[in-house]
Protein backbone atom coordinates (compact mmCIF):
# COMPACT_ATOMS: atom_id res chain seq x y z
CA UNK A 1 0.00 0.00 0.00
CA UNK A 2 1.66 3.21 -1.12
CA UNK A 3 -0.53 5.67 0.69
CA UNK A 4 0.12 9.37 0.56
CA UNK A 5 1.62 9.21 -2.90
CA UNK A 6 4.35 11.56 -4.02
CA UNK A 7 3.93 14.06 -1.21
CA UNK A 8 4.59 11.33 1.34
CA UNK A 9 8.01 10.47 -0.05
CA UNK A 10 8.99 13.94 -1.31
CA UNK A 11 11.83 14.40 1.17
CA UNK A 12 13.07 10.83 0.76
CA UNK A 13 13.17 11.25 -3.01
CA UNK A 14 14.90 14.61 -2.67
CA UNK A 15 17.53 13.00 -0.48
CA UNK A 16 18.03 10.18 -2.98
CA UNK A 17 18.25 12.67 -5.86
CA UNK A 18 20.91 14.77 -4.13
CA UNK A 19 22.92 11.70 -3.10
CA UNK A 20 22.56 10.28 -6.62
CA UNK A 21 24.10 13.39 -8.14
CA UNK A 22 27.22 13.36 -5.97
CA UNK A 23 30.39 11.47 -6.86
CA UNK A 24 30.36 7.89 -5.61
CA UNK A 25 33.14 8.15 -2.97
CA UNK A 26 31.35 11.07 -1.32
CA UNK A 27 27.87 9.51 -1.31
CA UNK A 28 27.99 8.07 2.22
CA UNK A 29 29.33 11.31 3.61
CA UNK A 30 26.73 13.44 1.81
CA UNK A 31 23.93 11.16 2.93
CA UNK A 32 25.08 11.44 6.56
CA UNK A 33 25.47 15.21 6.34
CA UNK A 34 21.99 15.60 4.85
CA UNK A 35 20.43 13.56 7.66
CA UNK A 36 22.23 15.47 10.39
CA UNK A 37 21.61 18.88 8.85
CA UNK A 38 17.92 18.14 8.39
CA UNK A 39 17.49 17.05 11.98
CA UNK A 40 19.34 20.09 13.30
CA UNK A 41 17.50 22.59 11.11
CA UNK A 42 14.01 21.14 11.52
CA UNK A 43 14.10 20.62 15.25
CA UNK A 44 15.95 23.84 16.03
CA UNK A 45 13.29 25.62 13.98
CA UNK A 46 10.61 23.80 15.90
CA UNK A 47 12.31 24.96 19.09
CA UNK A 48 12.09 28.57 17.94
CA UNK A 49 8.41 28.17 17.11
CA UNK A 50 7.68 26.40 20.37
CA UNK A 51 9.19 29.14 22.51
CA UNK A 52 6.85 31.73 21.06
CA UNK A 53 3.83 29.41 21.08
CA UNK A 54 4.54 28.42 24.64
CA UNK A 55 4.68 32.03 25.76
CA UNK A 56 1.53 32.88 23.89
CA UNK A 57 -0.26 29.76 25.11
CA UNK A 58 0.69 30.38 28.72
CA UNK A 59 -0.45 33.96 28.25
CA UNK A 60 -3.84 32.86 27.01
CA UNK A 61 -4.17 30.40 29.89
CA UNK A 62 -3.56 33.35 32.24
CA UNK A 63 -5.87 35.65 30.26
CA UNK A 64 -3.04 37.66 28.74
CA UNK A 65 -1.97 38.20 25.14
CA UNK A 66 1.59 36.96 25.39
CA UNK A 67 4.31 38.37 23.13
CA UNK A 68 2.67 40.26 20.27
CA UNK A 69 5.08 43.04 19.35
CA UNK A 70 7.84 41.60 17.17
CA UNK A 71 6.36 40.94 13.76
CA UNK A 72 2.73 40.05 13.08
CA UNK A 73 1.27 38.56 16.29
CA UNK A 74 4.77 38.30 17.73
CA UNK A 75 5.94 35.43 15.52
CA UNK A 76 9.39 36.94 15.09
CA UNK A 77 9.95 36.97 18.84
CA UNK A 78 12.42 34.02 18.64
CA UNK A 79 14.57 36.05 16.25
CA UNK A 80 14.73 38.90 18.73
CA UNK A 81 15.54 36.41 21.51
CA UNK A 82 18.26 34.84 19.38
CA UNK A 83 19.86 38.20 18.64
CA UNK A 84 19.71 39.06 22.31
CA UNK A 85 21.28 35.83 23.51
CA UNK A 86 23.99 35.98 20.84
CA UNK A 87 24.99 39.54 21.63
CA UNK A 88 24.98 39.14 25.39
CA UNK A 89 28.22 38.96 27.28
CA UNK A 90 29.38 35.45 28.07
CA UNK A 91 30.18 35.56 31.76
CA UNK A 92 32.17 32.72 33.33
CA UNK A 93 32.59 32.82 37.11
CA UNK A 94 36.17 33.26 38.23
CA UNK A 95 36.14 30.18 40.45
CA UNK A 96 34.39 28.02 37.86
CA UNK A 97 36.04 24.97 36.38
CA UNK A 98 36.49 26.53 32.96
CA UNK A 99 36.91 23.42 30.81
CA UNK A 100 33.98 21.53 32.29
CA UNK A 101 31.91 24.70 32.37
CA UNK A 102 32.54 25.17 28.67
CA UNK A 103 31.90 21.55 27.74
CA UNK A 104 28.64 21.02 29.65
CA UNK A 105 26.22 22.77 27.26
CA UNK A 106 27.95 21.27 24.24
CA UNK A 107 27.73 17.74 25.63
CA UNK A 108 24.10 18.28 26.55
CA UNK A 109 23.04 19.53 23.11
CA UNK A 110 25.15 16.91 21.34
CA UNK A 111 23.69 14.06 23.35
CA UNK A 112 20.15 15.28 22.86
CA UNK A 113 20.62 15.58 19.11
CA UNK A 114 21.98 12.01 19.03
CA UNK A 115 18.66 10.68 20.29
CA UNK A 116 16.92 11.97 17.15
CA UNK A 117 18.89 9.48 15.07
CA UNK A 118 16.42 6.69 15.75
CA UNK A 119 13.14 8.63 15.58
CA UNK A 120 11.05 7.71 12.55
CA UNK A 121 9.61 11.10 11.55
CA UNK A 122 7.90 9.64 8.49
CA UNK A 123 7.71 6.60 6.25
CA UNK A 124 11.34 5.71 5.33
CA UNK A 125 12.43 8.82 7.20
CA UNK A 126 14.65 7.53 9.97
CA UNK A 127 18.24 8.70 10.14
CA UNK A 128 19.55 5.35 11.44
CA UNK A 129 17.43 2.22 11.54
CA UNK A 130 19.07 0.53 14.51
CA UNK A 131 18.15 -2.96 15.56
CA UNK A 132 18.07 -1.73 19.15
CA UNK A 133 16.65 1.74 18.51
CA UNK A 134 14.73 2.17 21.75
CA UNK A 135 17.73 0.98 23.74
CA UNK A 136 19.90 3.45 21.85
CA UNK A 137 17.51 6.25 22.72
CA UNK A 138 17.65 5.52 26.44
CA UNK A 139 21.35 4.74 26.47
CA UNK A 140 22.31 8.00 24.78
CA UNK A 141 19.71 9.92 26.77
CA UNK A 142 21.53 8.88 29.94
CA UNK A 143 24.31 11.26 28.92
CA UNK A 144 22.10 14.28 29.63
CA UNK A 145 22.32 13.60 33.36
CA UNK A 146 26.07 13.72 33.18
CA UNK A 147 26.02 16.98 31.25
CA UNK A 148 23.70 18.49 33.82
CA UNK A 149 26.03 17.38 36.57
CA UNK A 150 28.97 18.92 34.71
CA UNK A 151 27.12 22.22 34.44
CA UNK A 152 26.02 22.23 38.04
CA UNK A 153 29.33 21.23 39.54
CA UNK A 154 31.63 23.32 37.37
CA UNK A 155 29.77 26.57 38.07
CA UNK A 156 31.01 26.48 41.66
CA UNK A 157 27.77 27.88 42.94
CA UNK A 158 25.67 26.34 45.67
CA UNK A 159 22.44 26.86 43.79
CA UNK A 160 23.71 25.27 40.64
CA UNK A 161 25.04 22.30 42.63
CA UNK A 162 21.68 21.95 44.38
CA UNK A 163 19.94 22.15 41.03
CA UNK A 164 22.20 19.51 39.54
CA UNK A 165 21.63 17.21 42.49
CA UNK A 166 17.91 17.63 42.24
CA UNK A 167 18.01 17.10 38.49
CA UNK A 168 20.03 13.90 38.72
CA UNK A 169 17.95 12.47 41.56
CA UNK A 170 14.78 13.24 39.66
CA UNK A 171 16.00 11.95 36.31
CA UNK A 172 17.26 8.67 37.77
CA UNK A 173 14.00 8.12 39.61
CA UNK A 174 11.82 8.81 36.61
CA UNK A 175 14.00 6.99 34.10
CA UNK A 176 12.80 3.72 35.62
CA UNK A 177 9.06 4.25 35.01
CA UNK A 178 9.93 5.76 31.62
CA UNK A 179 11.76 2.65 30.50
CA UNK A 180 9.37 0.24 32.19
CA UNK A 181 6.35 1.80 30.52
CA UNK A 182 8.00 1.35 27.14
CA UNK A 183 8.86 -2.25 28.00
CA UNK A 184 5.19 -3.13 27.59
CA UNK A 185 5.30 -1.90 24.00
CA UNK A 186 8.62 -3.60 23.27
CA UNK A 187 7.20 -6.82 24.67
CA UNK A 188 4.11 -6.68 22.51
CA UNK A 189 5.89 -5.55 19.37
CA UNK A 190 8.65 -8.08 19.89
CA UNK A 191 11.32 -5.70 18.66
CA UNK A 192 13.50 -2.85 19.88
CA UNK A 193 13.66 -1.17 16.49
CA UNK A 194 11.66 2.05 16.36
CA UNK A 195 10.94 1.57 12.67
CA UNK A 196 9.54 -1.91 13.22
CA UNK A 197 7.44 -0.75 16.18
CA UNK A 198 5.79 1.90 14.02
CA UNK A 199 5.24 -0.54 11.18
CA UNK A 200 3.49 -2.91 13.58
CA UNK A 201 1.09 -0.10 14.50
CA UNK A 202 0.49 1.07 10.94
CA UNK A 203 -1.87 -1.82 10.16
CA UNK A 204 -5.62 -1.41 10.10
CA UNK A 205 -8.44 -3.72 11.06
CA UNK A 206 -11.56 -2.38 9.33
CA UNK A 207 -10.72 1.36 9.64
CA UNK A 208 -9.03 1.70 13.02
CA UNK A 209 -5.24 1.58 13.28
CA UNK A 210 -3.47 -0.82 15.62
CA UNK A 211 -2.01 1.94 17.77
CA UNK A 212 -1.00 0.69 21.17
CA UNK A 213 -2.72 3.64 22.80
CA UNK A 214 -6.05 2.09 21.79
CA UNK A 215 -5.44 -0.83 24.14
CA UNK A 216 -6.05 -0.43 27.88
CA UNK A 217 -2.43 -1.13 28.79
CA UNK A 218 -1.27 1.17 26.00
CA UNK A 219 -3.44 4.03 27.23
CA UNK A 220 -2.26 3.64 30.82
CA UNK A 221 1.30 3.13 29.63
CA UNK A 222 1.12 6.25 27.47
CA UNK A 223 -0.11 8.38 30.36
CA UNK A 224 2.61 7.01 32.65
CA UNK A 225 5.18 7.47 29.91
CA UNK A 226 4.20 11.10 29.41
CA UNK A 227 4.28 11.80 33.16
CA UNK A 228 7.74 10.27 33.38
CA UNK A 229 8.77 12.18 30.25
CA UNK A 230 7.68 15.44 31.85
CA UNK A 231 9.88 14.65 34.81
CA UNK A 232 12.77 13.53 32.58
CA UNK A 233 12.73 16.81 30.71
CA UNK A 234 12.50 18.87 33.92
CA UNK A 235 9.33 20.56 32.84
CA UNK A 236 6.65 21.94 35.11
CA UNK A 237 5.25 20.54 37.42
CA UNK A 238 8.53 18.64 37.81
CA UNK A 239 10.77 21.67 37.35
CA UNK A 240 12.39 21.47 40.76
CA UNK A 241 15.90 21.50 39.30
CA UNK A 242 15.19 24.97 37.96
CA UNK A 243 12.81 26.19 40.68
CA UNK A 244 13.16 29.93 40.12
CA UNK A 245 11.73 30.75 43.51
CA UNK A 246 14.12 28.50 45.41
CA UNK A 247 17.34 28.02 43.50
CA UNK A 248 16.92 30.72 40.85
CA UNK A 249 17.68 28.66 37.75
CA UNK A 250 19.34 25.56 39.11
CA UNK A 251 22.22 24.07 37.24
CA UNK A 252 22.47 26.74 34.56
CA UNK A 253 22.39 29.74 36.85
CA UNK A 254 25.98 30.68 36.01
CA UNK A 255 25.49 30.52 32.27
CA UNK A 256 24.76 33.52 30.13
CA UNK A 257 24.48 34.50 26.52
CA UNK A 258 24.74 31.75 23.96
CA UNK A 259 25.57 28.99 26.43
CA UNK A 260 22.38 29.74 28.29
CA UNK A 261 20.52 29.57 25.00
CA UNK A 262 22.09 26.16 24.39
CA UNK A 263 20.71 24.87 27.68
CA UNK A 264 17.34 26.24 26.76
CA UNK A 265 17.58 24.62 23.35
CA UNK A 266 18.62 21.28 24.84
CA UNK A 267 15.72 21.31 27.25
CA UNK A 268 13.20 21.80 24.48
CA UNK A 269 14.93 19.33 22.19
CA UNK A 270 14.77 16.77 24.96
CA UNK A 271 11.06 17.42 25.22
CA UNK A 272 10.58 16.94 21.48
CA UNK A 273 12.71 13.80 21.46
CA UNK A 274 10.90 12.14 24.31
CA UNK A 275 7.54 13.17 22.84
CA UNK A 276 8.70 11.71 19.54
CA UNK A 277 9.53 8.45 21.29
CA UNK A 278 6.11 8.48 22.96
CA UNK A 279 4.52 8.94 19.54
CA UNK A 280 6.62 6.14 18.12
CA UNK A 281 5.82 3.73 20.92
CA UNK A 282 2.18 4.46 21.61
CA UNK A 283 0.66 6.78 19.01
CA UNK A 284 1.62 4.87 15.90
CA UNK A 285 4.52 7.10 14.83
CA UNK A 286 3.83 8.45 11.38
CA UNK A 287 0.72 6.36 10.75
CA UNK A 288 -2.79 7.72 10.41
CA UNK A 289 -5.40 6.76 13.02
CA UNK A 290 -7.96 5.71 10.38
CA UNK A 291 -7.34 3.93 7.12
CA UNK A 292 -9.27 6.55 5.12
CA UNK A 293 -6.84 9.25 6.32
CA UNK A 294 -3.72 7.59 4.95
CA UNK A 295 -3.64 10.01 1.98
CA UNK A 296 -2.17 12.65 4.31
CA UNK A 297 1.64 12.41 4.14
CA UNK A 298 3.24 10.46 6.96
CA UNK A 299 5.53 13.29 8.12
CA UNK A 300 2.51 15.56 8.58
CA UNK A 301 1.04 12.97 10.91
CA UNK A 302 4.24 12.76 12.93
CA UNK A 303 4.67 16.49 13.31
CA UNK A 304 0.95 16.96 13.95
CA UNK A 305 1.14 14.51 16.81
CA UNK A 306 4.33 16.13 18.05
CA UNK A 307 2.69 19.57 18.11
CA UNK A 308 -0.30 18.14 19.95
CA UNK A 309 1.95 16.67 22.62
CA UNK A 310 3.86 19.94 22.87
CA UNK A 311 0.57 21.71 23.41
CA UNK A 312 -0.26 19.20 26.13
CA UNK A 313 3.08 19.98 27.79
CA UNK A 314 2.32 23.71 27.68
CA UNK A 315 -1.17 23.13 29.00
CA UNK A 316 0.11 21.10 31.93
CA UNK A 317 2.75 23.74 32.60
CA UNK A 318 0.08 26.40 32.72
CA UNK A 319 -2.04 24.38 35.13
CA UNK A 320 0.00 22.62 37.77
CA UNK A 321 2.18 24.14 40.47
CA UNK A 322 5.62 22.76 41.22
CA UNK A 323 5.91 19.63 43.34
CA UNK A 324 7.93 19.38 46.49
CA UNK A 325 10.96 17.06 46.57
CA UNK A 326 9.31 14.47 48.82
CA UNK A 327 6.12 14.51 46.75
CA UNK A 328 8.21 14.00 43.64
CA UNK A 329 10.05 10.99 45.04
CA UNK A 330 6.96 9.46 46.62
CA UNK A 331 5.12 9.78 43.35
CA UNK A 332 7.92 8.10 41.42
CA UNK A 333 8.49 5.16 43.73
CA UNK A 334 5.08 4.60 45.28
CA UNK A 335 2.84 5.29 42.30
CA UNK A 336 4.67 5.31 38.98
CA UNK A 337 6.80 2.22 39.55
CA UNK A 338 3.99 -0.13 40.69
CA UNK A 339 1.68 1.18 37.98
CA UNK A 340 4.22 0.57 35.22
CA UNK A 341 4.74 -2.99 36.47
CA UNK A 342 0.98 -3.52 36.41
CA UNK A 343 0.89 -2.16 32.87
CA UNK A 344 3.48 -4.73 31.84
CA UNK A 345 1.36 -7.45 33.47
CA UNK A 346 -1.71 -6.21 31.62
CA UNK A 347 0.19 -6.22 28.34
CA UNK A 348 1.13 -9.84 29.00
CA UNK A 349 -2.49 -10.77 29.65
CA UNK A 350 -3.49 -8.93 26.46
CA UNK A 351 -0.95 -11.00 24.57
CA UNK A 352 -2.40 -14.29 25.75
CA UNK A 353 -6.10 -13.38 25.46
CA UNK A 354 -6.21 -14.14 21.77
CA UNK A 355 -9.35 -14.86 19.78
CA UNK A 356 -8.87 -18.56 20.60
CA UNK A 357 -9.33 -17.84 24.31
CA UNK A 358 -12.01 -15.15 24.48
CA UNK A 359 -14.01 -16.03 21.40
CA UNK A 360 -14.65 -14.47 17.99
CA UNK A 361 -14.12 -10.89 16.98
CA UNK A 362 -16.77 -8.42 18.21
CA UNK A 363 -17.57 -9.87 21.63
CA UNK A 364 -14.16 -11.40 22.19
CA UNK A 365 -12.42 -8.09 21.55
CA UNK A 366 -14.66 -6.33 24.06
CA UNK A 367 -14.02 -9.00 26.71
CA UNK A 368 -10.29 -8.79 26.08
CA UNK A 369 -10.39 -5.01 26.41
CA UNK A 370 -12.42 -5.07 29.60
CA UNK A 371 -10.32 -7.75 31.28
CA UNK A 372 -7.09 -5.88 30.57
CA UNK A 373 -8.63 -2.57 31.67
CA UNK A 374 -9.75 -4.18 34.92
CA UNK A 375 -6.25 -5.52 35.54
CA UNK A 376 -5.00 -1.93 35.47
CA UNK A 377 -7.94 -0.11 36.97
CA UNK A 378 -8.47 -2.21 40.10
CA UNK A 379 -4.86 -1.84 41.32
CA UNK A 380 -5.00 1.84 40.41
CA UNK A 381 -8.00 2.40 42.66
CA UNK A 382 -6.40 0.41 45.48
CA UNK A 383 -3.13 2.25 45.11
CA UNK A 384 -4.81 5.64 44.97
CA UNK A 385 -6.86 4.84 48.08
CA UNK A 386 -3.77 3.67 49.93
CA UNK A 387 -1.81 6.76 49.01
CA UNK A 388 -4.67 9.07 49.91
CA UNK A 389 -5.46 7.38 53.21
CA UNK A 390 -4.95 9.69 56.14
CA UNK A 391 -4.52 12.65 53.87
CA UNK A 392 -6.83 15.40 54.95
CA UNK A 393 -6.87 18.92 53.68
CA UNK A 394 -6.55 20.92 56.82
CA UNK A 395 -4.92 24.00 58.16
CA UNK A 396 -1.21 23.93 57.54
CA UNK A 397 1.13 23.81 60.47
CA UNK A 398 4.67 24.98 60.07
CA UNK A 399 7.69 23.82 61.93
CA UNK A 400 10.44 26.37 62.14
CA UNK A 401 14.12 25.70 62.53
CA UNK A 402 15.47 26.44 65.98
Amino acid sequence: MVAGGAADQVFVNLDHWIVGHTPVPLQTLVSIVISIATIIVVFAGLFALTTVFERKGLGRIQNRYGPNRVGPCGVFQPLADAVKSLTKEDVVPRSADHVVHYLAPLVLVGVVFLTYAVLPVGRNMTAVNLDAGVLFFFAVGAGTELAIFMAGWSSHNKYSLLGAMRAIAQMISYEIPLILSSVAVIMTAGTLSTVAIVEKQARYSSTLAHWYVFTPWGLAGFILFMIAATAETNRSPFDLPEGESEIIAGYFIEYSGFKFALFFLAEYLEMFAVSGLGITLFLGGWSAPFSFLTWIPSWIWFFGKLLTLIFAFIWVRGTLPRLRMDQLMNFAWKFMLPMTLIVILSAGIWHFLTAAVVGPKPLGAVIRWLVCALVIFAPFITLARTLERGRKIEKRTYRFAE
Binding site: R64, A384, E388
Partner: protein
Protein backbone atom coordinates in the same frame (compact mmCIF):
# COMPACT_ATOMS: atom_id res chain seq x y z
CA UNK B 1 -9.77 9.94 43.43
CA UNK B 2 -6.17 10.41 42.48
CA UNK B 3 -5.84 12.77 39.56
CA UNK B 4 -9.32 14.26 39.81
CA UNK B 5 -8.05 17.64 40.93
CA UNK B 6 -5.55 17.71 38.09
CA UNK B 7 -8.32 17.13 35.54
CA UNK B 8 -10.40 19.91 37.11
CA UNK B 9 -7.43 22.25 36.94
CA UNK B 10 -6.80 21.35 33.32
CA UNK B 11 -10.43 22.11 32.56
CA UNK B 12 -10.15 25.50 34.21
CA UNK B 13 -7.06 26.48 32.25
CA UNK B 14 -8.61 25.19 29.04
CA UNK B 15 -11.62 27.41 29.69
CA UNK B 16 -9.30 30.37 30.17
CA UNK B 17 -7.38 29.51 27.02
CA UNK B 18 -10.44 29.19 24.83
CA UNK B 19 -12.27 32.03 26.53
CA UNK B 20 -9.46 34.50 25.91
CA UNK B 21 -10.04 34.14 22.17
CA UNK B 22 -13.79 34.54 22.45
CA UNK B 23 -14.42 37.26 24.99
CA UNK B 24 -12.16 40.30 25.03
CA UNK B 25 -13.16 41.33 28.54
CA UNK B 26 -11.27 38.30 29.94
CA UNK B 27 -8.00 39.82 28.80
CA UNK B 28 -6.74 42.11 31.49
CA UNK B 29 -3.76 43.38 29.53
CA UNK B 30 -3.66 47.05 28.57
CA UNK B 31 -1.76 47.45 25.31
CA UNK B 32 0.20 50.30 26.75
CA UNK B 33 1.56 52.69 24.14
CA UNK B 34 -1.68 52.57 22.16
CA UNK B 35 -4.10 52.10 25.02
CA UNK B 36 -3.78 54.04 28.24
CA UNK B 37 -5.59 54.11 31.51
CA UNK B 38 -6.19 57.58 32.94
CA UNK B 39 -3.97 57.97 36.02
CA UNK B 40 -5.80 58.08 39.32
CA UNK B 41 -5.73 61.40 41.11
CA UNK B 42 -3.30 60.36 43.81
CA UNK B 43 -0.66 59.35 41.26
CA UNK B 44 2.62 61.10 41.87
CA UNK B 45 6.18 60.65 40.79
CA UNK B 46 8.47 63.67 40.64
CA UNK B 47 8.15 67.26 41.93
CA UNK B 48 7.53 70.37 39.84
CA UNK B 49 7.43 74.09 40.64
CA UNK B 50 4.10 75.90 40.52
CA UNK B 51 3.77 79.40 39.07
CA UNK B 52 0.83 81.82 38.84
CA UNK B 53 -0.05 83.98 35.89
CA UNK B 54 1.32 83.86 32.39
CA UNK B 55 5.00 84.55 32.97
CA UNK B 56 6.68 81.59 34.61
CA UNK B 57 9.68 83.50 35.80
CA UNK B 58 7.68 86.26 37.47
CA UNK B 59 4.96 83.96 38.81
CA UNK B 60 7.15 81.33 40.43
CA UNK B 61 5.94 80.82 43.99
CA UNK B 62 9.28 79.58 45.22
CA UNK B 63 11.12 82.02 47.46
CA UNK B 64 14.34 79.98 47.68
CA UNK B 65 13.92 79.35 51.39
CA UNK B 66 15.82 76.06 50.83
CA UNK B 67 13.76 74.05 53.32
CA UNK B 68 13.07 71.40 50.69
CA UNK B 69 16.75 71.22 49.83
CA UNK B 70 17.60 70.51 53.46
CA UNK B 71 14.76 68.05 54.00
CA UNK B 72 15.25 66.03 50.82
CA UNK B 73 16.42 62.55 51.98
CA UNK B 74 18.41 61.63 48.88
CA UNK B 75 19.47 65.28 48.45
CA UNK B 76 18.43 65.60 44.86
CA UNK B 77 17.44 69.31 45.06
CA UNK B 78 19.94 72.08 44.42
CA UNK B 79 18.95 75.70 45.02
CA UNK B 80 20.91 78.94 44.69
CA UNK B 81 19.34 82.03 46.21
CA UNK B 82 19.07 85.23 44.21
CA UNK B 83 20.94 88.39 45.22
CA UNK B 84 17.99 90.76 44.80
CA UNK B 85 14.40 90.50 45.96
CA UNK B 86 11.11 90.54 44.14
CA UNK B 87 7.63 91.11 45.52
CA UNK B 88 5.59 87.92 45.94
CA UNK B 89 1.84 87.50 45.40
CA UNK B 90 0.96 89.42 48.55
CA UNK B 91 3.39 92.16 47.68
CA UNK B 92 6.10 91.24 50.16
CA UNK B 93 9.67 91.45 48.88
CA UNK B 94 11.18 87.92 48.71
CA UNK B 95 14.22 86.20 47.30
CA UNK B 96 13.69 83.97 44.31
CA UNK B 97 15.68 80.91 43.16
CA UNK B 98 18.46 81.87 40.76
CA UNK B 99 19.07 78.13 40.22
CA UNK B 100 16.63 75.35 41.08
CA UNK B 101 17.67 71.86 39.90
CA UNK B 102 16.23 68.45 40.68
CA UNK B 103 18.10 65.30 39.73
CA UNK B 104 15.21 62.93 39.03
CA UNK B 105 17.62 60.05 38.72
CA UNK B 106 18.21 60.49 42.45
CA UNK B 107 14.72 61.56 43.51
CA UNK B 108 12.78 58.83 45.30
CA UNK B 109 9.33 60.44 44.99
CA UNK B 110 8.84 60.65 48.76
CA UNK B 111 6.92 63.94 48.58
CA UNK B 112 8.68 65.34 51.67
CA UNK B 113 9.60 68.54 49.76
CA UNK B 114 5.90 69.08 49.13
CA UNK B 115 5.01 68.50 52.76
CA UNK B 116 7.54 70.99 54.09
CA UNK B 117 7.09 73.82 51.55
CA UNK B 118 5.45 76.77 53.35
CA UNK B 119 4.75 78.59 50.08
CA UNK B 120 2.87 75.86 48.16
CA UNK B 121 5.56 76.25 45.54
CA UNK B 122 6.50 72.60 44.93
CA UNK B 123 4.04 69.89 44.04
CA UNK B 124 4.09 66.33 42.67
CA UNK B 125 3.67 65.66 38.97
CA UNK B 126 2.20 62.53 37.37
CA UNK B 127 4.17 62.39 34.12
CA UNK B 128 5.92 59.05 33.88
CA UNK B 129 7.28 58.72 30.36
CA UNK B 130 10.61 60.29 31.19
CA UNK B 131 13.12 58.01 29.51
CA UNK B 132 16.04 59.76 27.91
CA UNK B 133 19.22 58.72 26.17
CA UNK B 134 21.25 61.19 28.22
CA UNK B 135 21.58 59.68 31.65
CA UNK B 136 23.10 62.71 33.39
CA UNK B 137 21.98 65.88 31.59
CA UNK B 138 18.63 64.48 30.55
CA UNK B 139 17.55 63.65 34.04
CA UNK B 140 18.80 66.85 35.71
CA UNK B 141 15.84 69.20 35.45
CA UNK B 142 16.35 72.94 35.68
CA UNK B 143 13.97 75.71 36.78
CA UNK B 144 12.53 76.13 33.27
CA UNK B 145 11.71 72.43 32.96
CA UNK B 146 10.27 72.26 36.45
CA UNK B 147 8.04 75.32 36.22
CA UNK B 148 4.44 74.50 35.44
CA UNK B 149 1.35 76.73 35.70
CA UNK B 150 -1.17 76.43 38.48
CA UNK B 151 -3.81 75.49 35.90
CA UNK B 152 -1.81 72.35 35.16
CA UNK B 153 -1.77 71.56 38.86
CA UNK B 154 -5.53 72.01 39.04
CA UNK B 155 -5.86 69.64 36.13
CA UNK B 156 -3.78 66.75 37.49
CA UNK B 157 -4.68 66.98 41.18
CA UNK B 158 -8.00 68.88 41.34
CA UNK B 159 -8.81 68.21 45.00
CA UNK B 160 -5.41 69.21 46.31
CA UNK B 161 -5.25 72.22 44.03
CA UNK B 162 -8.63 73.46 45.20
CA UNK B 163 -7.50 73.27 48.81
CA UNK B 164 -4.30 75.13 48.04
CA UNK B 165 -6.11 77.80 46.05
CA UNK B 166 -8.61 78.35 48.83
CA UNK B 167 -5.87 78.70 51.36
CA UNK B 168 -3.96 81.13 49.18
CA UNK B 169 -7.05 83.29 48.57
CA UNK B 170 -7.58 83.45 52.28
CA UNK B 171 -3.93 84.26 52.86
CA UNK B 172 -4.13 87.03 50.29
CA UNK B 173 -7.29 88.43 51.91
CA UNK B 174 -5.71 88.23 55.35
CA UNK B 175 -2.60 89.95 54.09
CA UNK B 176 -4.67 92.68 52.50
CA UNK B 177 -6.75 93.18 55.60
CA UNK B 178 -3.63 93.25 57.70
CA UNK B 179 -2.03 95.78 55.35
CA UNK B 180 -5.19 97.85 55.41
CA UNK B 181 -5.32 97.76 59.18
CA UNK B 182 -1.66 98.63 59.41
CA UNK B 183 -2.10 101.46 56.96
CA UNK B 184 -5.14 102.73 58.82
CA UNK B 185 -3.26 102.66 62.07
CA UNK B 186 -0.30 104.41 60.49
CA UNK B 187 -2.53 107.07 58.96
CA UNK B 188 -4.31 107.68 62.19
CA UNK B 189 -1.01 108.05 63.95
CA UNK B 190 0.26 110.42 61.25
CA UNK B 191 -2.92 112.49 61.42
CA UNK B 192 -2.66 112.72 65.15
CA UNK B 193 0.96 113.81 64.92
CA UNK B 194 0.22 116.31 62.10
CA UNK B 195 -2.65 118.04 63.91
CA UNK B 196 -2.44 117.47 67.62
CA UNK B 197 -4.97 120.12 68.66
CA UNK B 198 -6.88 120.59 65.42
CA UNK B 199 -10.13 119.33 66.64
CA UNK B 200 -12.94 117.16 65.27
CA UNK B 201 -13.28 118.15 61.56
CA UNK B 202 -10.19 116.30 60.20
CA UNK B 203 -10.83 112.86 61.80
CA UNK B 204 -13.60 111.32 59.59
CA UNK B 205 -11.88 112.23 56.28
CA UNK B 206 -8.40 110.74 56.82
CA UNK B 207 -9.14 106.97 56.40
CA UNK B 208 -10.77 107.58 53.03
CA UNK B 209 -7.64 109.23 51.78
CA UNK B 210 -5.20 106.55 52.87
CA UNK B 211 -6.85 103.27 51.86
CA UNK B 212 -6.92 103.37 48.05
CA UNK B 213 -3.60 102.53 46.54
Amino acid sequence: MLGEGILKGLGETARNFAGSFVSAERLTTVQYPEERIAPIEATRDFPFLVYDGADWEAGLRCVACQICEKECPPRCIHIEKSKDKKPDFVGKAQFYPAVFDIDVAVCMSCQICVEVCPFDAIRMDNKFELSTTDRFGGLLWTKEQLAKPNEYYRQIHPTEAAETDERRVKELADAKAKAAAAAAAAAAKAAQQAAPGDGVSAVPTTPAKVVPQ
